[in-house]
C-alpha cells in the first residue's frame, strides 16, 4: 500500500464549496440506488411471514426473526438430491478451479512478463484480445469440444475452462511488469536457481496482491455459477442453481429466497472486504498501455 495515498493538493487547488456539495449530493443519491436494494435483501431475509402480507409493503422489518434461514434449511431437506451435495459441488469446483487458474496463470504471466522468449508479444496480445468478447461467443463450439472430450455432465466441464480464464492472467502479468524487478530475478538466476525456482521462490512472494485479486475473481465466478449447459444430472448441479429452484415461488418464498441470497452473497463480499486494499493495489497496474 506504499504507493497509494490520499491527495494532499487541496491546499494548492481550491475546491469550491458548491462543487463539494453538489458532488456529495450526487454521490448520496447514487449510493442510495446501489445500497438500498442490497439492504432490502437483508431486511427481507429477517421478516416474519406476516410482514410480507402487510399493505402497503414496508421496507423495514418490525419483528426480525431467523425463521427464514431455518425454513431455507428445511426446504433444502426436501430436495431430491441431498443439499450437502450441491454445497460440495460448488465448493469443490470453486476451490479446484481457482487453484488451477492461480497456478497456470501465474506461471504463464511470469513467462510473459519476465522472460523475453520469441512469441511473447503476440501471445500476450492474443490473451488481451480475449478480454474483448463474451464467453457467449465461444459457448457453442465449447459444447462440441466438451462432447468430443466426453466431459459433458462432469465436473471437468466447469473446472478446466476456468483454469484458462484470461482476466486473472492479464492482471497478474501487468502487476509483475511493474512490481518484480529484473535485477532481483537476475541475481537469483546467477546464484544458479532454475527458472521455476526463481518464479516460485522469488517472483511469487512479490506479487501477493495479484494472487488475492486473481483468487477473488476466479472464485466469485465459480461460486456464482448457476445452471450450466454442460451439466444435466441433478446431483452435479451447483448450489446457486439448487437454491434458485427452491426459492422460486412469489411472495410465499420471498423470505427464504432473500435468506438464500444473503448466504450466497456473504461469501464473495467477505472475501472482498478482506482483500480490498490488495485488489486496488493490483488494479494500479491494470491499465492498457497501447
Amino acid at each position: 500500500m506504499k504507493k497509494l495515498r490520499t491527495r494532499k493538493h487541496r491546499v494548492v487547488l481550491n475546491r469550491s464549496v458548491g462543487g463539494d456539495t453538489g458532488i456529495t449530493i450526487v454521490l448520496a443519491i447514487l449510493g442510495a440506488f446501489m445500497f438500498l436494494p442490497m439492504l432490502y435483501v437483508v431486511l427481507n431475509s429477517l421478516k416474519p411471514m406476516d410482514e410480507f402480507w402487510i399493505f402497503p409493503p414496508r421496507f423495514y422489518v418490525v419483528r426480525p426473526t431467523l425463521e427464514n434461514y431455518r425454513n431455507l434449511f428445511s426446504l433444502m431437506g426436501d430436495s431430491t438430491v441431498p443439499f450437502s451435495r450441491h454445497i460440495f459441488n460448488t465448493v469443490f469446483t470453486s476451490v479446484v478451479g481457482t487453484f488451477g487458474n492461480l497456478m497456470l496463470s501465474s506461471m504463464a504471466a511470469y513467462a510473459l512478463a519476465k522472460i523475453p522468449f520469441p512469441g511473447h508479444g503476440w501471445m500476450f496480445k492474443l490473451i488481451r484480445t480475449a478480454l474483448m468478447f463474451t464467453s457467449t461467443v465461444t459457448g457453442i463450439a465449447n459444447f462440441i469440444t466438451m462432447s468430443l472430450l466426453g466431459w459433458v455432465d462432469t465436473y471437468l466441464a466447469i473446472i478446466v475452462p476456468a483454469f484458462a480464464s484470461t482476466l486473472g492472467l492479464y492482471l497478474m502479468k501487468q502487476f509483475m511488469d511493474s512490481n518484480v524487478s529484473a535485477e532481483v530475478l537476475e541475481s537469483s538466476r546467477l546464484d544458479g536457481a532454475s527458472e521455476f525456482k526463481t518464479f516460485w521462490l522469488i517472483a511469487m512472494p512479490m506479487v501477493k496482491p495479484a494472487w488475492l485479486t486473481l483468487i477473488i475473481y476466479c472464485f466469485k465466478d465459480l461460486w456464482n455459477q448457476g445452471a450450466s449447459i454442460y451439466i444435466y444430472s441433478e446431483q452435479l448441479k451447483s448450489l446457486n442453481y439448487a437454491i434458485s429452484q427452491i426459492t422460486a415461488g412469489g411472495v410465499a418464498r420471498a423470505g427464504a429466497s432473500a435468506a438464500a441470497s444473503v448466504i450466497m452473497m456473504a461469501v464473495p463480499i467477505i472475501v472482498f472486504v478482506i482483500s480490498q486494499s490488495n485488489i486496488i493495489e493490483t488494479m494500479g497496474s491494470s491499465g492498457m498501455k497501447d
Binding site: 497509494l4 484480445t129 478480454l131 457467449t136 483454469f163 412469489g250 491499465g287
Partner: protein, 314 residues
C-alpha cells in the same frame, strides 16, 4: 545468463534472423514449458472456438451428421429472413449503447468523487458500489421490488399513494421491461473497471496537480480534463474493454427477471437468439453465424473506442 548474453552479442551478427530466433527459443525453452499449460487450454476453449464458429457459420450442422457447406446462406437468412434476429440485434445494440457508456461514465465519476475521501470512508463507499457486481443473483431483489402484484414494493407504494388503480405488471409490460432491465444491469455493472479507475486515480502523481495549479488551472473540472484524464489513459482503456464486453453479454439478467422469451420479445437479445438456435434447436451452423456476428460487433466496438480514447489529451 549474463555470461551467455555476451557470447550472444558476439554471435548474433553471424546469424540469420531465423537462426537467431531459433537460438533464442532454445535459450528460453523453459518459458514455453511454463506458458504451455495455460496456452493449450486457452487455445482449446477460446481461440479455436472462435475459428470453429467462423468455419461452422458457413455450414448446416446438427451435431449428428457431417456439416454441410452452405456458403453464405446462414448470413443471408440471418439478415434478410429472420425478424427475430433483427429484434435481438436491435435490443442488443440499444442495450449496449446505453449500458456500456453509462456504466463506464458512472464507474469513473464515482471513482473520481470518492478519490479525495479519507481511505477508511473510501473503502466503505467502494464496497457499497462494488458489492452488487460480485453478489451473484442478488439482482433478483429487483423482481421483488417490482413484483407484478400489490405486494411488490413499488406497486404497493404507488397504490397506497393513489397514483395507480391497479398493480402494474412491470416485467410483463413491453414498455417497461427494457428500461427496467437496463437499470438492473447498471446496478450490477460497477465492477472491475470501477476498481481499476479507483486505483488509477490513486496512482496519479500529486506533483502533476501542483504543477497544473501553478500553471493556472482554476477548478476541479479543468484539472479533470487537463491532468486527471490524460494521466489515466491506460486504466480508461482497460475499463472501456470491460464495459463493452459486459454491455454485449446482456441476457442472463433478462431471463431471470422477465423470462425468455420476454413479453412480445421486448427484451429479446442476441444471447437469447444464440441459445435458441444453439442449444434448443441444435442448428449449430446457424447459431455459429450468430456467434460470429456477435464476436465481430464486440471487437469492432472495442477498436472504435480504443481509437477514440487514443485521442484523449493529444
Amino acid at each position: 545468463m549474463a555470461k551467455n548474453s555476451a557470447s550472444q552479442e558476439a554471435t548474433r551478427s553471424e546469424m540469420t534472423k531465423a537462426q537467431w530466433t531459433w537460438f533464442q527459443m532454445k535459450q528460453h525453452k523453459v518459458a514455453y514449458l511454463m506458458i504451455a499449460p495455460f496456452m493449450i487450454l486457452f487455445f482449446l476453449f477460446t481461440v479455436i472456438p472462435v475459428f470453429a464458429s467462423f468455419l461452422l457459420s458457413f455450414t448446416s450442422f446438427n451435431m449428428l451428421q457431417m456439416p454441410k457447406f452452405l456458403f453464405f446462406d446462414n448470413y443471408i437468412t440471418l439478415f434478410l429472413d429472420d425478424d427475430l434476429w433483427i429484434t435481438a440485434l436491435k435490443n442488443t445494440l440499444i442495450f449496449a449503447a446505453v449500458t456500456g457508456p453509462a456504466s463506464y461514465v458512472l464507474s469513473f465519476l464515482v471513482a473520481w468523487f470518492i478519490n479525495e475521501l479519507s481511505p477508511k470512508i473510501r473503502a466503505i463507499v467502494t464496497l457499497i458500489f462494488y458489492a452488487p457486481s460480485i453478489s451473484g443473483n442478488v439482482y433478483l431483489i429487483w423482481a421483488t421490488l417490482f413484483s407484478s402484484d400489490s405486494q411488490g414494493w413499488v406497486n404497493g407504494q404507488l397504490l397506497s399513494m393513489g397514483l395507480i388503480d391497479a398493480p402494474i405488471l412491470w416485467f410483463q409490460n413491453e414498455s417497461y421491461v427494457m428500461p427496467l432491465c437496463i437499470i438492473v444491469a447498471l446496478w450490477t455493472s460497477l465492477g472491475t473497471a470501477f476498481l481499476s479507475f479507483i486505483a488509477g486515480l490513486q496512482g496519479i502523481n500529486v506533483s502533476l496537480f501542483e504543477a497544473a495549479a501553478v500553471d493556472g488551472l482554476k477548478n476541479r473540472w479543468q484539472e479533470l480534463w487537463y491532468v486527471t484524464l490524460p494521466s489515466m489513459k491506460p486504466q480508461l482503456m482497460f475499463g472501456a474493454v470491460l464495459s463493452i464486453t459486459g454491455a454485449f453479454g446482456f441476457g442472463g439478467i433478462v431471463t431471470a427477471l422477465a423470462g425468455n422469451p420476454s413479453v412480445n420479445y421486448a427484451a429479446y437479445t442476441i444471447s437469447h437468439h444464440l441459445s435458441e438456435y444453439g442449444s434448443t434447436r441444435w442448428e449449430v451452423g446457424y447459431a455459429s453465424a450468430i456467434a460470429f456476428v456477435l464476436f465481430l460487433m464486440q471487437i469492432g466496438a472495442n477498436m472504435a473506442v480504443r481509437k477514440l480514447l487514443g485521442k484523449l489529451g493529444d
